[in-house]
């Protein structure tokens, strides 16, 4: 009789570890919302770059369709839901997060990641304008209110007082609309608390991600793509601030001990540009790890550090998110990350789902490569639709990048 294959047992996660805590917070964001809905409270679906301080201060539970779509895609459900919404008539060309979310709105169930149906939707287009139509469709189909904050693309390097005035008025309008719809009340004192906590989370996050300045890096950059979910959805919560501080402590300890969550020898350090290719996370990370390539930094390391002193500062911060800034600022932020973190190459994910980001990536990346004197390689993929990625094509490009970095170091 053939011996049964012995499955390698994974050790139980340490409940005091940042990874465990952050995982719990991310899961709780969904379960809290489900419980709130069961209790009869109104819950919302919220865009990732909508000011989380607003629902947090009002005491409203919200969950994030983008985060849900990423989870569904990472767990293998992307194509099924995309096909569902395409069958409804949505174009295959639109963002896969939108296709998955619109399908979920109809199906109301997905074993990969469930969340309660919304009573209102919170939309902010500082991430993109596809978001507007996506949320309008949800609002119309479910006959629920849509709160819309318009933060236009900023062609200037700095945020102007006029822009802050425009955004501030809309933030207050959104707050008043939500007070009317939900019966909750805004509290300046509560906002101050949320602001402090959000700042604390952000400072810890920025400091933790800045540990990539050490060589070798004390962490595998792919970890950031997971941990970032908490910065998006829960940075105004005290437990998130504590977990991020634990993360920072762990990374500093790793550096002291010479260990890392990147297992294996770190031979090359790259920056990864773009959203993760969620349906192919294993293939994309393995293709790098097997070659000793550590993705030490990404723009997300910078993007979710919201630090501000007052309400206007908050308006400025939301006007300065990665997809709302001009090419020069986008480029300069990344050049700084590359220099600070001793990056040797840039791997660009040309993401079919995100036309906006993929549109500016090509020229921005070319300028980064020139400024930092590093090779730049791109591959085609998608943040949530598995049909837009080819493992063999990705592998050849990553190997080509590695061979250039190797030659630059004086290897063959």
């Amino acid at each position: 009789m053939m011996a049964e294959e012995v499955r390698k047992k994974r050790p139980a996660p340490d409940p005091n570890s940042a990874k465990y805590k952050l995982g719990q917070i991310a899961a709780k964001a969904y379960s809290d919302c489900i419980e709130a809905k069961k209790r009869g409270e109104m819950v919302g679906w919220c865009a990732s770059n909508f000011p989380v301080e607003i629902p947090e201060t009002l005491g409203l539970h919200v969950c994030y369709p983008e985060n849900q779509a990423a989870a569904i895609a990472a767990r293998g459900g992307g194509e099924r839901l995309c096909s569902e919404s395409e069958g409804e008539g949505y174009s295959n060309d639109i963002c896969a997060y939108a296709r998955i979310s619109l399908a979920y709105m109809k199906l109301k169930k997905a074993p990969e990641q469930d969340m309660p149906q919304p009573d209102f939707v919170l939309c902010c287009n500082n991430i993109c304008n596809c978001m507007i139509k996506w949320y309008e469709n949800i609002s119309k189909e479910l006959n629920i209110p849509m709160i819309m904050i318009d933060i236009p693309f900023n062609p200037d390097y700095e945020v102007s007082p006029a822009q802050i005035e425009y955004v501030r008025a809309q933030f207050w309008d959104a707050i008043h609309q939500l007070e009317k719809i939900t019966g909750k009340k805004w509290s300046d004192e509560r906002f101050r608390e949320v602001k402090e906590i959000s700042g604390r989370s952000s400072r810890a996050w920025l400091a933790a991600t800045a540990c990539a300045k050490y060589t070798p890096s004390p962490f595998n950059g792919f970890d950031l793509l997971n941990h970032m979910a908490v910065m998006v959805t829960a940075r105004g919560k005290k437990e998130a601030a504590e977990a991020m501080e634990t993360l920072l402590k762990e990374y500093e300890e790793n550096h002291q001990k010479g260990t890392s969550t990147f297992h294996g020898e770190e031979k090359y350090r790259i920056m990864f540009e773009g959203i993760a290719c969620w349906p192919w996370l294993r293939a994309t990370s393995t293709g790098l790890k097997n070659r000793g390539i550590n993705m030490v930094t990404t723009i997300y390391a910078d993007a979710f550090g919201f630090i501000y002193d007052d309400f206007d500062g908050m308006c400025r911060a939301y006007s300065r998110v990665p997809n709302a800034i001009n090419l020069e600022l986008a480029r300069d932020k990344r050049i700084k990350l590359c220099r600070d973190n001793h990056v040797e190459g840039l791997l660009v994910h040309t993401n079919r789902s995100c036309k906006l980001w993929s549109g500016f990536m090509a020229e921005m990346s070319r300028q980064i490569g020139e400024a930092c004197n590093i090779p730049v390689v791109s591959f085609d993929g998608d943040q949530a639709d598995p049909r837009n990625f080819s493992e063999a094509q990705y592998d050849t490009r990553v190997q080509g990048l590695m061979e250039i970095m190797e030659a630059n170091k004086g290897g063959h």
């Binding site: 040309t350 390689v377 085609d380 094509q393 050849t396 490009r397 190997q399 080509g400 061979e403 250039i404």
Partner: protein, 257 residues
């Protein structure tokens, strides 16, 4: 010292047996690749032709899309690096290499020392590659080797506007049906490949001298159309289709030294 380079491509398997990093003792191109005995056939051919045994080979390097399926190599290197090495060996001052293979088109930028410093490849789509030419030759009832000769006879090259190979096939059929002459259609096909590849070249940067490698380099129609599109001369070699395998054998020699 003998080294072996094996290039397992999407449509053909190639092998080059190299002596002392300089002399090509034997070479082979087999139109059968991964999943067939094409690879072992190519290797057997070079060994038989040179009357050598496998054990006499010091180092073997494998490249191409099928490189991971071949277990008997000492090193596995991307076809990007191998084509760069092969082209630099053939034309020692080349700065841009255009490789058009069966399903792949790539453009490599080399520095003064012949090292690859940048590259661009076609993504998702095989239009502009050897596959496109195969499909077209089939509709025209021509052998692929006849395309260049036909293109040279063109007086008014047809315009093929479809970027998709399948839609372009329909377009070519309707052009033939409306009486457009075969040489003009073939010239249009070559032009279509050239304009897609030229876009890749411009992304990487047009730095002379430029050479073409890969199977499609044998098609003078495509090469001339590319020269016209880029406004520069493009050289090639009779060994164009072997550049990947040659580069692999040269890499092997470097490792063996």
């Amino acid at each position: 010292m003998f080294t072996l380079g094996v290039d397992i491509g999407s449509t053909t398997a190639k092998a080059v047996l190299l002596k002392d990093g300089e002399e090509i003792v034997s070479s082979s191109i087999v139109v059968a690749t991964v999943g067939t005995d094409g690879v072992s056939q190519a290797i057997e051919n070079v060994l038989r032709e040179s009357r050598m045994k496998r054990a006499e080979i010091r180092v073997t390097v494998v490249t191409g899309y099928g490189r991971k399926t071949y277990p008997n190599a000492d090193f596995q290197v991307s076809e990007l690096t191998c084509h760069a090495i092969g082209a630099h060996h053939e034309f020692d001052n080349v700065r841009t290499v255009i490789d058009i293979g069966g399903q792949d088109a790539k453009v490599l930028s080399l520095n003064e020392e012949g090292r690859m410093v940048n590259f661009a490849m076609n993504d998702k789509c095989a239009a502009g590659t050897g596959r496109f030419l195969d499909v077209m030759a089939n509709i025209l009832n021509l052998d692929i080797s006849q395309l260049a000769g036909e293109a040279a006879k063109a007086t008014a090259p047809a315009n093929i506007s479809s970027t998709c190979t399948v839609f372009a096939e329909s377009e070519v059929i309707s052009q033939l049906a409306s009486g457009i002459k075969i040489p003009d259609v073939v010239a249009g096909i070559c032009q279509s490949v050239a304009s897609r590849v030229a876009a890749l070249v411009k992304r990487v940067g047009v730095r002379e001298p430029i050479c073409m490698t890969g199977g499609v380099a044998r098609n003078d129609g495509v090469r001339r159309a590319l020269e016209k599109e880029l406004g520069v001369g493009i050289t090639t070699s009779e060994r164009a289709q072997l550049m990947g395998a040659l580069g692999a054998a040269l890499y092997a020699y470097d490792k063996a030294k």
